[in-house]
């Protein structure tokens, strides 16, 4: 379903709207939130907050603000980051980078979704290590280009194009 087909349905805020929104995006957002919070119970709380915010503010979203997915992704990331700050985790964002989204898959205790991950692990692990870092910082953790450049010690000017190459790689793996 494309964004154009989805949005009129979601604006109705009825049962169907909820089911669509949840089925299409809950796991994606939870992947992002969990990758920041690293605690399943806390992450589920943040997911709940995120959905409440999306639902309450849906009237304020319009397509001139960018993709709907980008809008809800920002809400999810910001909610998770707020949670980290409020908890005094003593985590400024940079300390988060020691662990990336691939580790969720490596730890069977964390990934209670063994069955979901059949065959899906593999495409993620085929990504180059540099790509995993870059996608982790920019997409999952929401770093700016400058922050990512500092963290990975690469020139600022190459962040955008390297990231582009990495996403292309991901797209090819998904197609394979």
């Amino acid at each position: 379903m494309t964004q154009d087909e989805l949005l009129p349905l979601i604006y109705k805020k009825d049962d169907k709207a909820f089911t669509l929104l949840y089925d299409m995006y809950a796991k994606s957002l939870f992947g992002v939130i969990y990758n920041l919070i690293k605690d399943k119970e806390e992450a589920e709380d943040v997911l709940q907050e995120t959905f409440i915010k999306i639902w309450k503010n849906i009237e304020t979203y319009n397509e001139s603000k960018g993709r709907f997915y980008t809008w809800i992704l920002n809400i999810a990331r910001n909610s998770a980051i707020d949670k980290l700050r409020s908890k005094n985790f003593n985590n400024n964002l940079k300390n988060l980078s020691a662990d990336n989204f691939v580790h969720i898959l490596d730890d069977p205790a964390k990934a209670s979704n063994k069955i979901d991950a059949i065959g899906l692990h593999e495409f993620v692990k085929k990504l180059k290590p540099r790509c995993i870092q870059l996608i982790d910082l920019l997409f999952f953790k929401g770093y700016t280009q400058q922050e990512a450049a500092d963290e990975l010690e690469i020139p600022l000017g190459t962040v955008k194009t390297q990231n582009r190459n990495c996403i292309n790689e991901l797209r090819n793996l998904l197609k394979a």
Partner: protein
């Protein structure tokens, strides 16, 4: 900058990630509205990262699902609302009732007409033939209703184990259900929540053993568009631990194509 250079610059990825300033994002919007290639590219990037994050996400507990649902929708009933799409016999009953009322009206009309003079005989003939058509319709509705009742009986059997198959990254919105009768081992699959497969492709249903992972094909759903109930009996199984549905080329495959795994659920 032409659209190809623009796409290659990597700005669209950052746009989808939400990492552009408002001004930069506005530029991208402008490019996108002028240029279909840019729009397609944005959708493809989004699709890739939604899939990636979906596939690394741990499972969300059903308690959290229920909590979120309650917060957003109030205390509407959960199970019934969300999952009662198995058959549409109630809808047929509505039609049947409507036809009965129409028939009543039609026969009244006939009666009144017959009391009038011959000049409207042709009108009566017309009504008679309409009456016959309606009779035919009601018979076919009765047939449909019978087969719906039969399906309901199968689905409501108390020996059933019901397995909900959730959408996977290849088709996140997908949904399907397995009714596995523990007494007879019969397996029924309800694919109402799956899109109609593209030309030349079919859905294939698998029973899975987990350790080691062993998929066994239990059926290929050939005629998904023809059947309105979308419920199919597939081969019986005794020892499945999970069920999955993949999209495969016509004729099915020997092993499941995991990239085209649409729905999956375990006991």
């Amino acid at each position: 900058m032409n659209s190809k250079e623009y796409i290659e610059s990597g700005i669209l990825e950052l746009y989808v990630f939400g990492k552009l300033s408002e001004e930069e994002a506005r530029d991208v919007q402008q490019m996108a509205s002028d240029n279909p290639a840019v729009r397609t590219e944005i959708a493809a990037i989004e699709y890739a990262v939604v899939n990636l994050s979906h596939s690394v996400s741990p499972n969300i507990s059903s308690e959290t699902y229920d909590k979120i649902r309650r917060e957003l929708l109030g205390d509407a009933p959960i199970e019934v609302h969300k999952k009662s799409k198995t058959t549409n016999w109630g809808q047929y009953m509505g039609w049947a009732a409507a036809v009965v009322i129409l028939l009543g009206a039609a026969s009244m009309y006939l009666l009144m007409n017959s009391q009038m003079n011959d000049s409207i005989n042709s009108e009566i003939d017309k009504n008679k033939s309409e009456f016959k058509t309606m009779q035919k319709t009601i018979i076919s509705l009765e047939d449909q209703n019978k087969s719906s009742q039969k399906l309901l009986k199968i689905i409501r059997d108390k020996n059933n184990m019901v397995v909900t198959l959730e959408g996977q990254p290849a088709m996140p919105g997908a949904k399907a259900k397995i009714y596995w009768n523990k007494a007879t081992q019969a397996v029924y699959v309800d694919v109402q929540g799956l899109p109609t497969p593209p030309q030349g492709m079919v859905y294939q249903v698998w029973s899975l053993k987990m350790d080691p992972l062993t998929p066994t094909s239990i059926g290929i759903l050939n005629k998904i568009t023809a059947d309105t109930s979308k419920i199919y009996q597939v081969e019986s199984t005794v020892d499945a631990e999970a069920f999955g549905i993949t999209l495969e080329p016509e004729g099915g495959s020997a092993i499941p194509t995991m990239e085209q795994l649409y729905a999956l659920g375990k006991m």
